[in-house]
């Protein structure tokens, strides 16, 4: 996986927070799922995607 500069990660964090708010509580899950699907397409690497899904599931409560 490529390392993102911290400033970019921070910008992504802020963009994500604000996008969740603009999607609204009703549509938030759909928005996040669409976002991940788009990102997986951008990523173009099924192994990396599988690993990310695993890491995101780990420790969920």
């Amino acid at each position: 996986m490529s390392a993102m500069p911290f400033e970019d990660l921070e910008a992504a964090y802020e963009m994500l927070a604000m996008a969740i708010d603009s999607a609204g509580a009703q549509r938030e899950t759909l928005f996040l799922t669409r976002l991940v699907l788009l990102l997986s397409h951008e990523l173009g690497d099924i192994t990396a995607f599988r690993n990310a899904v695993g890491a995101a599931l780990e420790g969920l409560e």
Binding site: S22, A25, E28
Partner: protein, 563 residues
């Protein structure tokens, strides 16, 4: 607030003095025109008076209270503030009493996810941070004020009116000894977040309020943990809210905890609820022994400031000009920088060494610093008190991933206060000369310090006017010597320092740099030249001297030329 049965000044560890009202000459009809009147004898007002005194300027300092502040409670002094305290001759008791620190830890659900380590370059004289209760900060500054003949301290003296005229300001003062008028050339409004002067002049702070609320409690306990900043996200001791813990001298600990969304403020502030919450938090960090409650209060974050910190002959310094969130310790520290910035400028102007237009740079420089603080503080505030569902979810995702992954951990960085860089200031006219350097501090930034072979530090030798650092290998050449001479004529306080020079010049101090560490620190080859302002920020730097630019920079810093 204090526990039931205790008076407002009934502290576990601090004896509040009682300062009487004095009989002053104005009460006998003796009208004196004062160069400066400072309203508010908190840390910022007292520092302002002491910076002016460093330039020989007299001031009258009035405060409506009869003792030190019990309200606002700053506890962190950053390194640049220690330098300000040093320059006003007040730093010794701070070094002795305060707890220096440079580390912090952030936890998520009890597990450490972030280790804060503030840079501590080997040449620096002071640590990045010091914890000290505001009562002591005020006491030590007041000791310095009391020892200074140039400050006329008047307690129990309340400002009741202000009239701004073209060439002076007239103030109405009310005290138990009587009411009187005070006339001043300039007024410094250091009268705090609820500044009466601001209201009297019809000025308003503008900006944002954040909803998240924190309870701030000071407690006394015998607890064995080093002086570090600890932040607990989602701790079991305060479910749904963040907790911050800081150590202070005298076994006093600051516990800040966030209230849950929708929680009643009134309920949260009841003494039994404070005790229960603090006990749960302490149990969470493994403290089972007894503890005592000293004081508590409630806080919500704001980023508010005035459009202009100057209103004619009235200057706003500290909280009267800007209110910043506590996360990142910028309130007190930025106020001290205001007092220092305005103090040297006003000192030089009142002495006739600088022209009045120099004062125009105060507001852009310090308001610029405030806006940068807002940008940083807004980020840390959104992390400490996520304002909406989007921010809460994003934070939970980042924190929970931080348990196993390194990449999001930096988001939990508290972004502690850094000195502001005046690179955009009119007093830094040749910032583009930075491009000629591969390393070293940029124009407008605070000068780094270097430890010398004899244990003293480079900045110990800087003056209270302009200071030059000339790097050379042999003797200064004719052009360099001539430039230093011209700077000396421009500024009677000018101090030239020759770094690593073999030869010498009359009235210039040679500082040896045998292993080249100072040169490395400043990214300086032989021939390089740094010009420092009285507040030890870099007014400009040149790879080789350009006398016209250097003299113009010094002239602008003395208000003699328009930027």
């Amino acid at each position: 607030m204090r526990p039931a049965g205790k008076g407002p000044l009934d502290s576990l560890y601090f004896n509040y003095p009682n300062f009487p009202a004095r009989h002053v000459p104005e009460l006998d009809g003796i009208a004196v025109r004062h160069p400066v009147v400072i309203v508010g004898a908190g840390p910022i007002g007292m520092t302002g008076a002491l910076v002016l005194a460093r330039y020989g300027i007299r001031s009258v300092l009035i405060d409506r209270k009869d003792t030190f502040n019990d309200g606002s409670r700053a506890i962190c002094l950053a390194r640049p503030s220690m330098h300000i305290l040093e320059r006003i001759g007040a730093v010794a008791p701070f070094v002795e009493k305060a707890l220096g620190w440079r580390f912090g830890r952030s936890y998520y659900r009890g597990e450490q996810i972030f280790r804060l380590e503030m840079p501590d370059p080997p040449g620096e004289k002071y640590l990045p941070m010091y914890n000290l209760q505001q009562q002591y900060i005020e006491q030590f500054l007041h000791d310095a004020v009391s020892a200074c003949d140039l400050v006329d301290m008047r307690w129990q003296s309340e400002l009741v009116g202000i009239e701004c005229r073209a060439n002076s300001v007239s103030l109405g003062v009310s005290s138990p000894a009587g009411d009187y008028r005070l006339d001043a050339d300039y007024v410094l409004a250091a009268d705090g977040a609820r500044s009466p002067i601001r209201s009297m002049l019809g000025l308003r702070l503008k900006g944002e309020n954040y909803e998240g609320k924190y309870v701030i409690a000071d407690i006394r306990m015998d607890h064995d943990f080093p002086t570090e900043r600890r932040a607990f996200f989602e701790p079991s001791g305060n479910p749904g809210g963040t907790v911050l813990i800081h150590k202070q001298p005298d076994n006093i600990w600051r516990v800040d905890y966030q209230l849950r969304e929708g929680e009643s403020e009134e309920e949260a502030l009841r003494e039994e609820n404070i005790r229960a919450r603090v006990s749960a938090i302490l149990a969470d960090i493994g403290h089972e022994k007894p503890w005592e409650l000293e004081w508590w209060s409630i806080y919500s974050a704001n980023t508010l400031c005035l459009d202009d910190y100057r209103h004619g002959r009235v200057f706003f310094i500290g909280d009267s000009a800007h209110i910043v969130p506590i996360f990142g310790v910028r309130g007190l520290n930025n106020g001290l920088a205001d007092a220092d910035n305005l103090g040297w400028k006003l000192g030089l102007v009142l002495n006739g060494e600088a022209e009045d237009q120099l004062l125009d740079s105060y507001s852009p420089e310090r308001r610029g610093a405030t806006l940068e603080v807002f940008a940083n503080a807004t980020k840390s505030t959104r992390f400490m008190t996520p304002p909406t569902r989007g921010w809460r979810l994003a934070r939970e995702a980042a924190l929970s991933l931080s348990l196993k992954h390194d990449f999001p951990r930096g988001l939990a960085n508290p972004r502690q206060m850094q000195p502001y860089t005046y690179s955009e200031s009119p007093l830094t006219p040749y910032a583009d000369r930075d491009a000629d350097f591969a390393a070293g501090p940029i124009g407008g930034s605070a000068a780094p310090n270097a430890r010398l072979a004899d244990g003293t530090h480079l900045l110990d030798y800087a003056g209270n006017g302009m200071t030059a650092l000339l790097f050379c290998d042999g003797s200064p050449n004719y052009a360099q010597a001539a430039l230093l001479g011209q700077l000396g004529k421009l500024d009677q306080r000018f101090v030239p320092l020759l770094i690593r020079c073999q030869g010498s010049l009359p009235q210039a101090r040679a500082i040896s740099d045998e292993n080249g560490e100072i040169a490395r620190l400043f990214g300086a080859e032989p021939g390089a030249f740094y010009l420092l302002r009285p507040d030890l920020h870099i007014a400009g730097r040149w790879k080789a001297i350009v006398p016209g630019e250097i003299l113009r920079t010094a002239s602008i810093c003395l208000g003699r030329q328009m930027p």
